[in-house]
């Protein structure tokens, strides 16, 4: 069961990766990164159970946090430098 779950997660991670590579707009890529991050959290939690060492959950927790922070950071600086480019090229 857990193995099945891990395989599914890996597949979806691959899909998200494909979207991040193809993604026509930058937002697509951000979305894909976000999805990828959540799936990584799940994958690590599942892997912790798979290996029988549930202490790994700490890492999953960190991932959940960091993923959020990095999405926010990306959004902020994306908007920020876009504004700059508008100002720079009137």
């Amino acid at each position: 069961m857990l193995v099945m779950l891990a395989v599914v997660l890996l597949t979806v991670m691959l899909m998200a990766l494909a979207r991040a590579l193809l993604g026509p707009s930058i937002y697509d890529r951000i979305l894909a990164v976000n999805l990828f991050g959540t799936k990584t959290v799940l994958l690590i939690a599942v892997m912790g159970f798979l290996f029988g060492r549930p202490d790994f959950l700490d890492i999953a927790l960190v991932y959940a946090l960091i993923n959020f922070i990095s999405i926010i950071g990306v959004l902020r600086y994306f908007e920020y430098s876009d504004r700059k480019q508008i100002e720079g090229e009137p």
């Binding site: 990766l17 991040a20 590579l21 993604g23 930058i26 890529r29 951000i30 894909a32 990164v33 990828f36 991050g37 990584t40 994958l43 690590i44 892997m47 202490d55 790994f56 700490d58 890492i59 927790l61 960190v62 991932y63 946090l65 960091i66 993923n67 959020f68 922070i69 990095s70 926010i72 950071g73 990306v74 902020r76 600086y77 994306f78 920020y80 430098s81 504004r83 700059k84 480019q85 100002e87 720079g88």
Partner: protein, 324 residues
């Protein structure tokens, strides 16, 4: 793992940075699969969190697209040369790798020397379950001291390069209001809930490092990430009121100072430099104490250094934006 190829091909630098974020996540999950829990911890916080953010801030200053048009003419010859060089290096590496022991082989030479001692002796000698922490803080205390110093120096170097008015506590810079993300109300509220949790979690990681994955390095980075989130949402000036850069600078040095002092104190009490067994009457209690203090020093330095670096970049980006 082939994300990297894609990174090399994309010319939009933003896309490249996003991909490198994914790359960080991927390599971190790879580390988990290889049992390197502590490393995955750090790589998660650094590779997927702080590195892309720093990169993006720099991109905000330097411009988003790389110029390719002019390069293409002479690129052909150069490409071939570079590919040749790569093939030669790769071939040499492969030739060297053929002699390496198979993956996961327990009899490999790397598994034979100090490792056995670390694994078998450290519970008796140090008395804490996380071997990584005990090796990090106790057996290889010198290395860690050196690394903390490197980070300290790097933070100072960044500050020196941006000879800014970051430390002038007086007037707030003029054009900071428009970067404050005022429009994102939902974000601000949710982050208000999250930031204390993040900081609390950082402390948990700091003091739990002896028993589970974690320790000063990770805790410092997570703490810094919490503060960075705050800075991004509320603007640099607000964040500078909360944590004064001058205080940060002192803290950054103070962490190294604590670390060094522990060594000196243990020397004064009759042991070697950074030999914690003499810090208390019982050797194991002494080791506990020493590791705790040292991890604290590491955590303080890393957190302060990262926040300082972030502040410096963010200040630089703000002034650059104002100048244009």
């Amino acid at each position: 793992m082939v994300t990297a190829i894609a990174i090399a091909r994309v010319s939009d630098l933003f896309a490249a940075v996003m991909l490198s974020g994914i790359y960080g996540l991927l390599s971190a999950s790879f580390f988990v699969a290889l049992d390197a829990v502590d490393v995955a911890f750090t790589e998660a916080a650094v590779g997927a969190g702080i590195f892309p953010i720093l990169m993006l801030m720099v991109l905000g200053v330097t411009g988003r697209y790389e110029k390719i048009a002019a390069e293409r003419k002479k690129a052909r010859v150069k490409n071939v040369a570079v590919l040749m060089a790569m093939l030669v290096t790769g071939g040499l590496l492969i030739a060297g790798m053929l002699d390496m022991p198979a993956f996961g082989d327990p009899d490999a030479p790397a598994q034979q020397h100090v490792n056995i001692r670390y694994i078998e002796q450290s519970p008796e000698e140090i008395g804490i379950p996380n071997m990584v922490t005990s090796v990090l803080a106790s057996y290889r205390g010198y290395d860690t001291l050196g690394e903390v110093l490197v980070i300290f120096t790097a933070a100072m170097g960044v500050l020196a390069l941006f000879s800014s008015q970051l430390f002038s506590t007086g007037k707030p810079s003029i054009k900071s209001e428009k970067n404050d993300m005022h429009e994102h109300n939902v974000l601000r509220i949710v982050s208000k809930i999250l930031i204390p949790l993040i900081l609390l979690f950082a402390f948990y990681v700091q003091f739990h490092g002896e028993y589970g994955p974690g320790g000063g390095f990770q805790a410092g980075v997570i703490f810094a990430a919490g503060i960075i989130l705050y800075t991004m949402l509320y603007g640099l000036d607000k964040a500078r009121q909360v944590i004064k850069p001058v205080v940060l600078r002192v803290l950054c040095a103070f962490g190294v100072f604590i670390y060094g002092c522990t060594g000196v104190v243990s020397m004064l009490s009759g042991g070697n430099f950074l030999d914690y067994s003499v810090l208390a009457s019982d050797a194991i209690v002494g080791q506990h104490l020493g590791i705790l203090v040292i991890e604290l020093g590491v955590g303080i330095t890393i957190a302060a250094g990262m926040i300082l670096i972030f502040f410096a970049f963010s200040h630089q980006a703000a002034t650059q934006l104002g100048e244009e």
